[in-house]
C-alpha cells in the first residue's frame, strides 16, 4: 500500500509532457522507479480508474489521468462509482480520513436525489454531472 507513490507518479505524469510520451510508449518501465505494489501497478497500467479511486487517489489528480486516457467526464464519474461498488469504500487518503460515505449517503444528508444529477437546478430530466 503506497498511495503516496501512486499519487506522486500521477502528479508527475500530469505535469510532464515528456513523461507522458514515455508512458505512452511503455507504461511498465516508467513505473519502475516508484515504490508500488503489484495491485497499484496493474491499476495504473490497465487503467482501472475505479480501483485507483478505491485505493484513495485524490480526484484532482485522478481526473487528469482519466483525461489523459481520453475517458469522458461522465464515464470517469461512473468508473469511480463502479469501483466503490466492486472494491468497497475508499481505503486511504482524504476521502477515507474525512469519512467518505458514498454518493447515496451524501445525497440523503443533503436532501438531494442520488444518482446522476441534473444539468439544470430546476429540472430533473437531464442526465450528467
Amino acid at each position: 500500500m503506497s498511495l503516496y507513490y501512486v499519487q506522486k507518479f500521477l502528479y508527475q505524469l500530469n505535469r510532464d509532457p515528456q513523461l507522458q510520451q514515455r508512458y505512452r510508449q511503455d507504461r511498465r518501465s516508467v513505473l519502475e522507479p516508484y515504490e508500488l505494489t503489484g495491485e497499484e501497478i496493474e491499476a495504473l497500467v490497465e487503467p482501472d480508474v475505479g480501483l485507483l479511486f478505491h485505493l484513495g487517489v485524490n480526484g484532482q489528480i485522478l481526473m487528469h489521468f482519466a483525461a489523459f486516457h481520453r475517458i469522458e467526464w461522465a464515464d470517469y464519474l461512473q468508473r469511480m462509482r463502479d469501483g466503490i461498488a466492486r472494491y468497497g469504500p475508499v481505503r486511504e487518503g482524504v476521502y477515507a480520513t474525512t469519512g467518505y460515505e458514498g454518493t447515496d449517503a451524501h445525497a440523503a444528508r443533503l436532501g438531494q436525489q442520488s444518482g446522476p444529477l441534473s444539468h439544470r437546478p430546476t429540472s430533473s430530466e437531464e442526465e450528467g454531472d
Binding site: 499519487q7 484532482q60 487528469h64 467526464w73 482524504v94 480520513t97 451524501h106 438531494q112 454531472d129
Partner: protein, 274 residues
C-alpha cells in the same frame, strides 16, 4: 497605494471545459457576471492582480507541501491541463517579480509563506484569468493556500494571510486588485461531483458579505466536509479575501448551482470605498 479591488469567484474546470453541457441561459448569466467583474477590475486601474487560489497538485505535492505560497516570477505558464479538456489554450501570463518580492517580504512580517520562482497555473487560476484578463496581459501574483492535502492550515491562519496581503498591497506603490477563487460547497472530481449544498453556500456567503470574522472562522473541517464536501476546504481563499477587505461589506453579484460545473457558481465583491 490602498488595495483597489477585492472579489471572489469560482474556478471549476467545467466552467470552460464543459460549457456546452450546461443550460445556456444560466451559463450565459454566469459568464455575464464574470464580464462585469472584469470591467470592475479594469475600472479599478489595477496594475497587478493578486489571485488567491487553491491549486490542485499542479505545483505543490505532499513531498513538500506549503500551507501558503506566493509566486515570484516574471511569467507563469498554463494551463497545466490538456487545453482541449479545459478549453483554454496554452498561455504565458505576465508576472512582476519585483512587486512579488516586495509583497512577500511584507507578508512575511506576520505570516510564513513559501515563495515560488516557477509556477504552472492549473484551472484554479487559468479559469478566472480566462474571464478576467482574457488576453492574459495583466501581471498576476499567484497566492496558493493548500486546500487539497491535509493537514490544512486552520481557518484563522487563512484570515491572517489575508490581513498580511492587505497590508502588503497597501504598502506598495502599484495599484493592486485581489481575487480569491475557490468553490464553496462541492465534491469535485469524485463520484459526488455535481452535488451542491445551496443552503450552506448561501449561509457562508451571508457571513462573507457581512465580513463577520468570528462567523467565518466558526467553521471546522469535519463539519465542512460533511456539509460542503472536500471542495469546501477551499473556503480558505474566500476567508483570506474577506480578511483583506476587513470591515467592508460585500455583495453577491451572481450565485447559481450549475451541477455540470460541479459547483455553486459565485461572483462577489467587497465595497472598499465605504
Amino acid at each position: 497605494m490602498p488595495l483597489v479591488y477585492t472579489g471572489v469567484c469560482s474556478h471549476a474546470p467545467g466552467i470552460t471545459g464543459r460549457a456546452d453541457q450546461a443550460d445556456p441561459e444560466v451559463r450565459n448569466a454566469f459568464y455575464a457576471a464574470f464580464d462585469d467583474m472584469r470591467r470592475a477590475v479594469e475600472r479599478s486601474e489595477a496594475e497587478a492582480l493578486v489571485v488567491i487560489a487553491a491549486e490542485h497538485f499542479a505545483n505543490f505535492f505532499m513531498d513538500n507541501m506549503p500551507s501558503f505560497a506566493i509566486g515570484m516570477a516574471d511569467f507563469y505558464e498554463g494551463p497545466i491541463e490538456d487545453p482541449d479538456w479545459l478549453a483554454i489554450d496554452k498561455f504565458r501570463a505576465p508576472g512582476n517579480r519585483d512587486l512579488s518580492r516586495r509583497i512577500i517580504t511584507e507578508v512575511m512580517q506576520t505570516v510564513d509563506v513559501a515563495y515560488a520562482e516557477e509556477w504552472k497555473f492549473d484551472h484554479g487560476i487559468a479559469v478566472p484569468l480566462h474571464f478576467l484578463t482574457p488576453g492574459f496581459d495583466r501581471p498576476v501574483i499567484p497566492v496558493n493556500i493548500n486546500c487539497q492535502g491535509p493537514p490544512l492550515a486552520p481557518l484563522h491562519r487563512a484570515w491572517a494571510l489575508g490581513e498580511a496581503l492587505r497590508r502588503a498591497a497597501d504598502s506598495v506603490t502599484e495599484r493592486v486588485a485581489l481575487i480569491g477563487t475557490g468553490g464553496i460547497s462541492h465534491w469535485p472530481a469524485t463520484p459526488d461531483s455535481g452535488k451542491i449544498n445551496e443552503a450552506w453556500d448561501l449561509e457562508f456567503m451571508d457571513r462573507w458579505c457581512r465580513n463577520d470574522r468570528d462567523a467565518l472562522l466558526a467553521y471546522d473541517d469535519l463539519s465542512v466536509y460533511a456539509d460542503a464536501g472536500h471542495g469546501g476546504f477551499e473556503i480558505r481563499t474566500y476567508i483570506a479575501a474577506a480578511a483583506a477587505a476587513a470591515g467592508a461589506s460585500g455583495t453577491v453579484h451572481f450565485y447559481a448551482p450549475i451541477p455540470i460545473f460541479a459547483v455553486g457558481c459565485t461572483i462577489a465583491s467587497y465595497d472598499l470605498t465605504a
